[in-house]
């Protein structure tokens, strides 16, 4: 909770609200943050409900397409082609957008992107902007930068609105307020809407329909009069210069259609080569994301169209660490991500910890590989993320562009482990290797452990305490399996060797594979 939650009365200008934003900076490393999160039973309940619903919906609509694996292979390959020739496609995109009447800007990092956008908004003379939900602008903390310049950015996606009104942080890629249930959302609307504009209606209930209606009324006036909008894009087509935004509520259409000036901040990895490549992604994304055959609204635009929509269009191409990710031949595949969030919804770790524990706008399995690569692993927070997984592989199974998240996690763990400061773990692993490597040594160690089982503490002392802070030391059995096997196993034939059970054993060894 941030300290400025008291007295949200009319005396508080929206600008004050905008200035007091929550931030991911200085977050706890994953193990500490996760321990807190799993202790929050309300959070766990909200997440379990929501992820279960979406998993089921996704499974149904993906199951409808008998060529899903072919679409997935194509999606992966299109992205790989783009990434391996990203410079070519970026230049092509720039030329096409410019030819269609748009202006292209290049931002090496967050500070530069924020500076460009701030300058563009200032040039319009406006101090209010409406925003379409965008991960890239969350990543660069654009709203905070605009607030510093006296410009208020109004989030218009329902979940982003909930997060903004409650001065909270997003916890999910698709549904940033997934950690809130309807009762909490009602409280937020009732307490906070007035400080940002139109107040919530009297007697607002917690029916999702009523809450959606309250959001409509709250934002309607603002949509109709705003003159500048900021968006991201799901895809940017290099050949034609076309931007693509998928959404559900119509807030995207409002922002992309009604204002005079549109500024889109787009990561350099969002490029796809051709218009027809969209036939793959417009099937993969909605089904993986919201579990719908198609999302309610998709808008595409190319530069400016006379008499229809914004007459000034700016595309800000954002690097901000992406070229570092691209340089890692194993980690590069993370840039294929189309931000569907299927990996979050399927992840047993995410379901229990929620998104905030990952300390980044990119939570869940994809965040665990993207954040350390975008920001580096120098700090404890980023270095802990590759370990925020059980490597069960469900994320890879559901990924519509076949990002092998476990492979990248292991790769990043190697990187973290090879860096200074991980000596204790390396020493422990080295010792384990020595013990496990020799049969006599292992037997001796097991006998010693069994003898000492009553005195083994629940927590390890010294540097090893970091390990047991988040794990229970397994109970040491009275007798090791190896000892039991020597005593019992030799007395009777093993079931697999029973000749009365054909096919259970021997087949592969004797006759080769059938």
């Amino acid at each position: 909770m941030s300290p400025d939650h008291s007295s949200p009365g009319a005396g508080h200008a929206a600008q004050d609200r905008a200035a007091g934003h929550a931030t991911f900076l200085g977050m706890l490393p994953f193990p500490e943050a996760a321990e807190r999160a799993v202790g929050d039973s309300q959070l766990r309940h909200n997440l379990r409900m929501a992820t279960r619903t979406i998993r089921h919906k996704r499974e149904e609509v993906v199951g409808e397409l008998d060529d899903w694996s072919a679409l997935r292979a194509a999606g992966k390959a299109v992205k790989d082609r783009t990434l391996r020739h990203l410079d070519t496609y970026l230049e092509r995109l720039e030329a096409a957008v410019t030819a269609a009447g748009g202006r292209v800007h290049w931002a090496a990092d967050a500070a530069e992107a924020n500076e460009i956008v701030t300058g563009l908004v200032r040039a319009t003379g406006e101090t209010d902007v409406v925003k379409v939900k965008s991960m890239a602008t969350q990543e660069i903390e654009l709203n905070e930068a605009l607030a510093q310049a006296g410009i208020i950015a109004y989030e218009t996606d329902l979940a982003e609105l909930i997060v903004q009104l409650s001065d909270d942080l997003p916890s999910h890629i698709l549904v940033p307020a997934i950690h809130r249930n309807r009762a909490e959302i009602r409280e937020i609307f009732r307490d906070r809407m007035a400080a940002w504009g139109v107040a919530a209606p009297e007697g607002l209930g917690d029916d999702p329909r009523a809450l959606a209606e309250a959001a409509r009324v709250h934002l309607r006036e603002r949509f109709l009069r705003s003159r500048v909008a900021i968006s991201g894009a799901n895809f940017a087509v290099a050949d034609t210069g076309t931007m693509v935004v998928l959404e559900s509520e119509g807030n995207g259409r409002m922002c992309l259609t009604l204002p005079q000036t549109l500024i889109s901040v787009v990561g350099i990895e969002k490029v796809v080569p051709t218009w027809s490549d969209l036939e793959v992604f417009l099937q993969l994304l909605p089904r993986s994301s919201t579990g719908e055959r198609m999302n309610p609204y998709t808008s595409t635009w190319t530069g400016v169209a006379p008499g229809d929509g914004p007459q000034e269009f700016h595309l800000v191409l954002l690097d901000n660490g992406r070229s570092d990710v691209l340089a890692d031949e194993v980690g590069r595949q993370a840039l294929r991500c189309i931000r569907c969030s299927a990996c979050l919804n399927i992840c047993p770790v995410y379901e229990r910890t929620g998104g905030h524990a990952y300390g980044s706008v990119y939570p869940g399995p994809i965040g665990a590989i993207l954040t350390p690569q975008l920001r580096g692993t120098a700090s404890a927070q980023e270095a802990s993320l590759p370990y925020a997984s059980s490597l069960c592989g469900a994320c890879y199974e559901v990924c519509p562009v076949a990002i092998d998240i476990p492979e990248v996690l292991v790769h990043l763990r190697e990187e973290v482990a090879a860096s200074p400061g991980h000596r204790a773990e390396k020493a422990a692993m080295g010792a384990a290797g020595w013990v496990l490597g020799g049969e006599r040594r292992l037997g001796a160690a097991q006998r010693a452990a069994s003898a000492a089982r009553s005195v083994v503490p629940r927590r390890m002392p010294g540097p090893a305490s970091a390990w047991t802070d988040t794990r229970d030391i397994p109970e040491i059995p009275e007798e090791s399996f190896r000892a039991w096997w020597r005593r019992e196993g030799a007395a009777e034939p093993a079931p697999g060797a029973d000749p009365a059970e054909p096919g259970r054993s021997g087949g592969d060894e004797e006759g080769g594979r059938r």
């Binding site: 909200n46 992820t51 979406i54 397409l65 008998d66 060529d67 072919a70 292979a73 194509a74 299109v78 082609r81 391996r84 020739h85 990203l86 970026l90 720039e94 800007h105 290049w106 931002a107 090496a108 530069e112 329902l158 549904v175 997934i178 249930n181 309807r182 959302i185 999702p208 959606a212 409509r216 934002l219 309607r220 109709l224 034609t240 076309t242 559900s248 119509g250 807030n251 259409r253 409002m254 259609t257 350099i268 218009w275 969209l278 036939e279 793959v280 919201t290 719908e292 055959r293 198609m294 309610p296 609204y297 998709t298 808008s299 635009w301 190319t302 929509g309 690097d319 070229s323 340089a327």
Partner: protein
């Protein structure tokens, strides 16, 4: 152009040092063995069914029943004044009691006072229950179908394709496109879908066969 163009491009090129100099983008194979459509049923029936899944209202009519269907839909809605593109066919409204306001540059407030909007479309996709507007004949500019709370869309049978890959070649990326799949909706509260947020909260579709 502004910002660090050369710097970003140089970083990208440096990051791709492992890509052989002679490799062209086309050398990275893209398997295209996915289907153009999925054989999920007769196209028009499938389109109607999928629209209903999104809680859109759907009617099917032969051409001679179109004017009556439009008139009935507008009457049921209680729409006294509806907007339409300047080039929307006159005969669609032949039996309608509602006043039809042709869009000759209505301002936002003017559009907001309309009880609804009646348009055609460019393409429709059966499998996904999608209507695509491209600002072409009978469709008007994007704001026209965005601000009024009720959208009645006339779809001709020959405009419906089965799958998404069949729709893209029929569309020009140079035009601003709006792909519409049901009324506006949100899943942001407990990931449960609720129809009706900022876009038109009611979508009614008349399929002319």
């Amino acid at each position: 152009m502004s910002g660090s163009r050369e710097r970003v491009l140089a970083r990208v090129r440096a990051a791709l040092a492992d890509v052989p100099a002679g490799e062209a983008p086309e050398d990275v194979a893209v398997p295209r063995d996915y289907a153009p459509a999925h054989d999920q049923g007769e196209t028009t029936a499938l389109f109607a069914e999928r629209l209903e899944d999104y809680k859109a209202l759907v009617h099917r009519t032969p051409p001679e029943g179109l004017a009556a269907t439009v008139a009935r839909a507008l009457a049921r809605r209680g729409a006294g004044r509806v907007a339409a593109a300047e080039d929307a066919p006159e005969d669609w409204f032949a039996q309608a009691e509602a006043e039809v306001v042709r869009d000759g540059g209505l301002d936002v407030a003017g559009l907001d006072r309309m009880d609804g909007v009646v348009t055609g479309c460019a393409v429709a996709v059966a499998e996904t229950g999608t209507i695509v507007l491209d600002g072409g004949r009978a469709q008007g500019r994007r704001a026209l179908t965005l601000i009024p709370d009720y959208h009645l869309c006339v779809v001709r049978g020959d405009q419906i394709v089965a799958g998404v890959p069949q729709a893209l070649p029929r569309l020009s990326p140079a035009r601003p496109l709006t792909w519409i799949s049901g009324p506006s909706a949100t899943s942001d509260i407990e990931l449960d879908r609720v129809e009706g947020v900022h876009g038109p909260r009611t979508l009614e579709v008349v399929i002319v066969e």
